[in-house]
């Protein structure tokens, strides 16, 4: 195991990684921007290095500063968390060049899987089911139009290097294609400096189901079951659960098997996630691989009992996976809610600030991952995720009631501070979610239904 690990991140995930290190007896180095001087992980860590000003580009994305911080503190390894540098192949390479272990897959694997085109080609070759469409970027509008016609409308045009729900366009009929194609290319160029796009069939009422995979240096590649991340707003996940409810018999196992095949084909190492789109007819399609720990990893931890971050550290330090495929047992149901400092009444605009009151939920089968505390001044410079509230119960229905209870008791307030707690409670109580009959459109449907309706105070007891 490592002697000292530097955490190249902030917020709740920095604290999450620090906790895993502490439990393994590994010293922790935090890095932080001037904006994060008073953050929880800075006081939690054994050492902390200020690496730059608020702007992420000059701090959390500043590779030389982070490498120098690792050097001056003598860290053996760097955990990148999620976001920031976690999926930047160059960073993984620079780490290697500086004899620092990057806790994640090899740089080449990140590069291959981070490019949608090479990833799609590789995964199609490994036998993963793909949506009808192009495997390679398209060279002309004519070619693209042909692919779209063959795939059948609606189609989605996606930037080859895009992500986070940006650089995409949905086309519902042939006549609108050429125009949308040009626009998406221009947008991709502006956003990512790369105008390459590809086209595939678009599923409007799909579900988002993903498989957690893990691989070590000894040829062991396993999966830890699935997560359902169907509740999204503009491609941002709001709530995740495991197992995915109401899957046809054997489907989760089939998805797990193909994900493992894909991981083996990619030469994967460490923790990774295969994202799939699940159509209403039970067919599933490969979307992409995330080559890092996910925000929503706790739901997998709650149902399997496996500490994914500790496992990342073990595998990266050259140890074997501590579990075999046959040891992975999923028990009960877990749900995670992302509590963001956003104002649902103002189109989810960020609403951070000085948090005067902060009382996390507690009690049986409730877990809170947060960097928040009473007196924390949450900066506006970064992500609005403030806390992840996770519950477990023997059944999904019980977990839903538990989550409702836990959301109701979470108290966060301060001048100008708003959170998504109320909106998450509405989601948890929504009939479509309760029946697990929702699709990725659920949040939009909720917001549409809301518009024009008077606000309703939720009763504090479970209905």
């Amino acid at each position: 195991m490592f002697g000292k690990v530097l955490i190249a991140n902030r917020g709740e995930i920095a604290l999450r990684v620090a906790r895993a290190c502490r439990e393994l007896g590994v010293a922790v180095v935090a890095v932080y921007s001037t904006e994060d001087q008073d953050s929880a992980v800075v006081s939690y860590a054994d050492e902390a290095v200020q690496i730059g000003p608020a702007a992420a580009k000059q701090s959390y994305l500043n590779i030389p500063a982070i490498i120098e911080a690792a050097r001056m503190t003598g860290a053996d390894a760097i955990h990148p968390g999620y976001g920031f540098l976690s999926e930047v192949a160059d960073f993984a390479e620079v780490c290697r060049d500086n004899d620092i272990t990057f806790i994640g897959p090899p740089a080449e694997v990140i590069a291959t899987l981070g490019d949608k085109t090479t990833a799609r080609q590789l995964m199609a070759g490994a036998g993963l089911p793909m949506l009808p469409g192009s495997l390679e970027p398209l060279n002309s509008v004519e070619e693209a139009q042909q692919v779209a016609d063959d795939a059948g409308y609606p189609v989605i045009i996606k930037a080859a290097t895009g992500g986070g729900g940006r650089g995409m366009g949905v086309v519902y009929e042939r006549a609108a294609f050429a125009d949308a194609y040009a626009k998406t290319r221009a947008g991709a160029q502006a956003l990512f400096g790369d105008s390459r796009v590809y086209v595939e069939r678009y599923l409007p009422a799909g579900r988002h189901v993903e498989i957690q995979v893990f691989a070590d240096d000894f040829g062991n590649t396993i999966h830890l079951g699935e997560r359902d991340c169907t509740v999204q707003r503009r491609h941002q996940k709001l709530l995740e659960e495991s197992p995915a409810p109401r899957l046809p018999d054997g489907l989760a196992e089939r998805m797990g098997d193909v994900a493992v095949n894909g991981a083996i084909a990619a030469g994967y190492r460490g923790a990774g996630t295969f994202e799939f789109l699940l159509a209403p007819d039970g067919q599933f399609y490969f979307m992409e691989v995330n080559t890092r720990i996910q925000v929503e990893h706790p739901v997998t931890e709650m149902v399997t009992g496996i500490d994914l971050v500790a496992e990342q550290l073990r595998v990266a330090s050259g140890e074997r996976l501590s579990i075999r495929q046959q040891d992975v047992v999923s028990t009960g149901a877990a749900i995670e809610c992302r509590i963001n400092a956003e104002d649902p009444e103002r189109d989810f605009a960020p609403a951070p600030g000085l948090i005067e009151e902060f009382v996390p939920s507690g009690g049986p089968f409730v877990r809170v991952d947060t960097h928040g505390f009473a007196g924390y001044r949450m900066p506006a410079s970064y992500d609005s995720l403030l806390a992840k509230l996770v519950v477990w119960a023997p059944t999904r229905e019980q977990a839903r009631h538990r989550m409702d209870r836990a959301l109701a008791e979470f108290r966060i307030s301060g001048p100008g501070v708003h959170t998504t707690i109320g909106f998450l409670r509405e989601t948890i109580r929504h009939p479509a979610f309760a029946a697990a009959e929702h699709s990725t459109a659920i949040v939009e449907q909720m917001l549409d239904a809301r518009a024009g309706q008077p606000e309703v105070d939720l009763p504090s007891a479970v209905a």
Partner: protein, 162 residues
């Protein structure tokens, strides 16, 4: 903020907000615990310590800047002293090359923008330029020492700014 004009507008707005905050505090008969002003991207918060006497000169806004100071938190600074702080994480070199004379020494006067040291980060040599003018009173870090971003490297007296 992407250009000078926008920055100027924001500054004006900020000035405005501060003046108004102070005025508001003065106008209120009772001493508030906190004032929080926000206008678009600009926000001003003023908080008074619990139990502080409402003597509080109405125009002196108590601290609570919108952004934390760029220097690493350290024990009480002498208010007269200013610092030149490291512009990057890395190894500090006080001279242009081994054996050469240092860029600056105690007693030297520096002007804003003058190079005072080098920070090496991943073999990149980053010039360390003075953020403001001053007369060097102390060199706080040794040659070859690792420094963090914002770490104090030189202390200096204020002189008439260049």
């Amino acid at each position: 903020m992407t250009d000078d004009k926008e920055a100027a507008q924001l500054n004006e707005l900020l000035d405005h907000a501060f003046r108004n905050t102070a005025q508001l505090a003065a106008d209120l008969a009772d001493h508030p615990k906190a004032v929080h002003v926000r206008a678009g991207d600009v926000s001003v918060e003023v908080a008074w310590q619990a139990g502080q006497a409402p003597q509080a000169a109405p125009t002196a806004p108590t601290e609570a800047p919108a952004a934390p100071p760029p220097t690493k938190q350290e024990p009480a600074d002498d208010p007269g002293v200013r610092y030149l702080t490291a512009p990057a994480v890395g190894v500090l070199y006080l001279a242009p090359e081994p054996g050469a004379a240092p860029f600056v020494g105690v007693g030297d006067t520096v002007t804003a923008g003058q190079q005072v040291a080098i920070i090496e980060a991943m073999k990149l040599m980053i010039p360390f330029e003075a953020e403001h003018a001053g007369r060097i009173t102390k060199v706080l870090k040794g040659n070859g020492e690792a420094v963090e971003f914002g770490e104090k490297v030189f202390s200096c007296d204020e002189i008439d700014a260049a």
